[in-house]
């Protein structure tokens, strides 16, 4: 069984209790920000804020919408970060979470470069920095608890459970009230599916989430990497063969140099 979380934007009241609960459980510090003209704060995910609510004010179908979107690691089924990490610090657990191991990471930031959702963040202001991202409160999930944000959510916008069951429920919610949601579960198919699923009243590109293909982003890399062993053996064999031929031509050339001038060339 693989866990997931369903975030229903239409039930979210934008209280940001999840942001605070996350900071408390994961011991992330507060940060100094400046007024951006919105009550959305902080403006971006950082290593101190690994989940936040984004506020979007926009037009859709001739109607004004004020929409909340919870941002955090989506916990992909085929995570690019875990495929990219050279030291296996990032790993996909069979029960859902993509976890991060402080004691392995050496700060190459390849995971940040490849994440299709743009999620992992880095401690830019400390001499001993780490990568930070939502870990699905993997420690809590292991102990049979819900993630801190889900526990604290007062409006029922966040629901923790089995991913397959959540998908069924999400589809049921859309079917029951088609006017309330767009017919799209973000995370069902994006880059091969994610453990976290989102429902929204307006299309997801309008709330700033990337439009992604259904194919996992790791496909081309896996194919390329599968060529490594044959290429290694092949190049070694070809080079040895070329050396052997060239060397033989050289010695033959030297031996016959006195008799036949042409042998040196051919």
């Amino acid at each position: 069984m693989s866990f997931g979380v369903l975030y229903d934007s239409t039930k979210c009241i934008g209280c940001r209790g999840c942001q605070v609960a996350c900071k408390q459980w994961n011991q992330r510090k507060g940060e100094q920000t400046t007024n951006t003209g919105s009550i959305e704060n902080p403006p971006l995910l950082t290593s101190k804020t690994v989940t936040k609510i984004r506020f979007t004010e926009t037009d859709y179908n001739g109607k004004f919408h004020f929409v909340f979107t919870k941002l955090q690691c989506m916990h992909c089924e085929h995570p690019a970060c875990a495929e990219a990490c050279p030291v296996s610090a990032l790993q996909k657990r069979p029960d859902g979470p993509v976890t991060y191991d402080d004691s392995r990471c050496f700060g190459c930031r390849y995971c940040m470069t490849v994440c299709p959702f743009g999620i992992p963040t880095f401690d830019w202001d400390t001499p001993i920095p780490w990568i930070r991202k939502c870990t699905f409160c993997a420690d809590r999930v292991t102990s049979g608890l819900k993630p801190a944000c889900v526990t604290t959510c007062p409006s029922g916008a966040l629901k923790f459970g089995d991913r397959e069951e959540l998908l069924v429920e999400a589809k049921a919610r859309i079917a029951a009230e088609p006017g309330r949601y767009v017919n799209h579960i973000y995370g069902e198919k994006e880059v091969g599916g994610t453990s976290w699923l989102l429902l929204s009243p307006i299309p997801f590109d309008k709330v700033g989430l990337p439009t992604l293909p259904e194919e996992p982003v790791v496909v081309n890399v896996e194919r390329a990497m599968s060529f490594v062993p044959p290429v290694l053996v092949g190049v070694a064999a070809i080079m040895t063969g070329v050396y052997w031929l060239a060397k033989r031509r050289e010695t033959n050339g030297k031996k016959t140099a006195g008799k036949k001038e042409g042998a040196v060339k051919k």
């Binding site: 971006l44 995910l45 990219a84 050279p86 990471c105 390849y110 743009g118 001499p127 390329a224």
Partner: protein
């Protein structure tokens, strides 16, 4: 590059003074980084986690060091003895290139003191793991390949004999390792299909990277040996320059064909006219680094003088630098809400590292037997 105009008559030449100043200037940001963190010296951010250091020091540095494996392969495996005298400088340049990469990583990595974790808890599916392991082993191979120069200098016969006996396996290992990690640098970007612009993103990116590295290897040897020749007052070997100049267009031709056919097959060839502004980068890269050198190297008037050959080789090098910056910076999208312009300190660190290498090259030419180790039988095929 005028920094290298060292005049041996002076006590402390001006070029060396400039290089030393650059080295010291590059050290200052490193100190700040280890007190206040990476954010204090760079404009890197969560939206642009890899910046100038990765694009220039890693992507360009590794590719420009390709002269080491191409020339070593040509001389020791293909046994084209004509090029023997540039093999050793090429290997030294490559060794310094890789040292530069490793030194740059000491600044760029969050916790470089844990880099050995790559051996303890490896993820063998990661292209970066492959690059890391190959760069590490290849640096050792290059050090061994170059070590005879040191042993010859001090007349240490035993280690010299040991190295000579394993020289061919070393060179072959070097070619294999280079093939793997030059291409893996391309594989690394395969992981970013939604960020890298389709003009550059292709499943055969690893082959493109290998091909362009093989093309720039000889060009870099021409570039570097001309500069050191000027600085230290050696005479360039025209036959070598012309030979390399004749070979490069063939490799570039394959590269150009790959690029065009790939775009045709993907049905994206129209992007070279429509994908403004990225198509401008693409055209500059193709024209400067591939088309112009292919034409110019084939002109008799260009091939007549070393200076002209040098300038065309410079075009090839420039084209490669533009390509690597395109794929790892300009055409690689950032997260929304971020911008990136490198700080002067980022430039200072990279410039300092290049100055380091140039100082070591200068010292090597002063102290070690770099060119005068031509074997007795050099006249056999080359003299014809």
């Amino acid at each position: 590059m005028n920094d290298l105009q060292v005049q041996s008559k002076r006590k402390f030449p001006k070029g060396l003074a400039i290089l030393s100043a650059l080295v010291i200037l590059g050290l200052i940001p490193i100190v700040i980084r280890y007190i206040y963190g990476l954010g204090a010296i760079s404009n890197l951010s969560d939206g642009r986690p890899w910046g100038l250091w990765i694009s220039f020091d890693l992507y360009c540095g590794v590719a420009l060091a390709a002269g080491g494996f191409t020339l070593a392969g040509v001389v020791y495996v293909f046994r084209l003895e004509k090029y023997h005298s540039v093999a050793r400088p090429a290997v030294l340049t490559a060794f310094l290139g890789y040292t530069l990469v490793i030194l740059a990583l000491l600044v760029d990595l969050g916790q470089p003191w844990f880099i050995w974790h790559i051996m303890i808890t490896p993820n063998i599916h990661s292209p970066l793991f492959e690059v890391g392991v190959c760069v590490l082993t290849y640096t050792i191979v290059l050090a061994l390949e170059f070590s005879p120069a040191v042993f010859e200098k001090f007349n240490w016969h035993l280690p010299l004999r040991v190295i000579r006996s394993i020289q061919i396996p070393l060179v072959i290992a070097g070619v294999c390792l280079s093939t793997l990690h030059q291409s893996s640098l391309g594989s690394m970007l395969l992981m970013a299909p939604t960020y890298l612009h389709p003009l550059w993103y292709t499943p055969i990116l690893p082959i493109m990277f290998l091909n362009s590295a093989i093309a720039v290897g000889p060009a870099m040897v021409m570039f570097e040996s001309t500069l050191t020749g000027k600085a230290l007052g050696h005479k360039q070997n025209h036959e070598i320059m012309e030979g390399l100049g004749k070979a490069i267009p063939w490799i570039l031709g394959i590269y150009l064909a790959l690029k065009l056919v790939d775009l045709l097959v993907a049905g994206e060839i129209g992007l070279i006219f429509t994908a403004y502004p990225y198509n401008i980068n693409w055209w500059i890269e193709i024209m400067v680094g591939i088309v112009a050198p292919m034409i110019l190297f084939n002109l008799k008037s260009i091939r007549k003088t070393d200076t002209r050959l040098f300038w065309v080789a410079t075009l090839v090098v420039l084209g490669l630098v533009i390509n690597r910056f395109n794929v790892s910076m300009f055409a690689l999208a950032m997260r929304p809400g971020y911008t990136y312009v490198p700080t002067w300190m980022e430039f200072a660190i990279s410039a300092g590292l290049v100055a380091d290498s140039m100082l070591v090259i200068w010292l090597a030419y002063k102290l070690l037997p770099m060119m005068q180790h031509e074997p007795a039988h050099v006249a056999a095929p080359g003299a014809r």
